[in-house]
Symmetry: C2
Subunit: 131 residues, 2 copies
């Protein structure tokens, strides 16, 4: 994307962050939610692959940098309040670090949080250098 939209019209929180929902562009599957700051959003717009801000590491988090499971950007939207982003992405591999396709695999059922999705990729192989 040659010209970036005005990133100052977005509303960031006290830490300078804005939540970003990643959705598979064709199936509509909600993959994950993470955070971006102004710089990681600019990087995402320029590169065409999702780059978040890791709150735990306080560093850029180039999604897929170790796993290869990148997210190619198809579109970036914001909402009426301009305080949330929706990324339409093409997910390579799986989105979740547990090896599931998306992160929302715990569902409120019968008084508990029940797992509703299978592990597709062995996390040891995703991150262990085995694959």
């Amino acid at each position: 994307m040659d010209t970036l939209p005005d990133l100052d019209t977005l509303k960031y929180n006290a830490e300078g962050l804005i939540p970003a929902i990643a959705q598979q562009f064709d199936s509509g599957e909600v993959l994950m939610m993470a955070w971006m700051n102004r710089a990681s959003l600019a990087q995402t717009l320029r590169s065409g692959v999702a780059c978040y801000w890791s709150r735990s590491r306080q560093a850029f988090w180039q999604k897929g940098e170790s796993s290869g499971h990148i997210q190619r950007i198809r579109a970036i939207r914001t909402d009426c309040d301009r305080d949330t982003l929706l990324l339409l992405v093409e997910q390579v591999g799986v989105a979740c670090h547990t090896g599931r396709h998306n992160c929302f695999y715990l569902e409120a059922r019968q008084g508990g949080w029940q797992e509703i999705a299978e592990v597709e990729k062995d996390p040891a192989l995703i991150y262990g250098g085995g694959g």
Copy 2:
């Protein structure tokens, strides 16, 4: 839902809030993102309709209380980090206070944030007591 899942296993932020993404259960459309606290989530689970926490008003926000545009809960999920909720809902009317079906109607295109969705319901009629 008779028995609630353990809401203390979720991770709330410093203000006691957790982000909640509302997705139309059948189409996969991401409708909006708002916040819940423990009590509004418990209320949502008990009542079967989405109840958020309004950060601006510091009060329960029973979605649709003035517009009638409620969200009937089909499922509630959380993610691997248990710090985000995904609500699968049946949206009555429109989700966005602007009268659009969902809130994410601004897309990064050609250096700007362009409107990509039409207003379906006149906000004056939604909230003005006219309908």
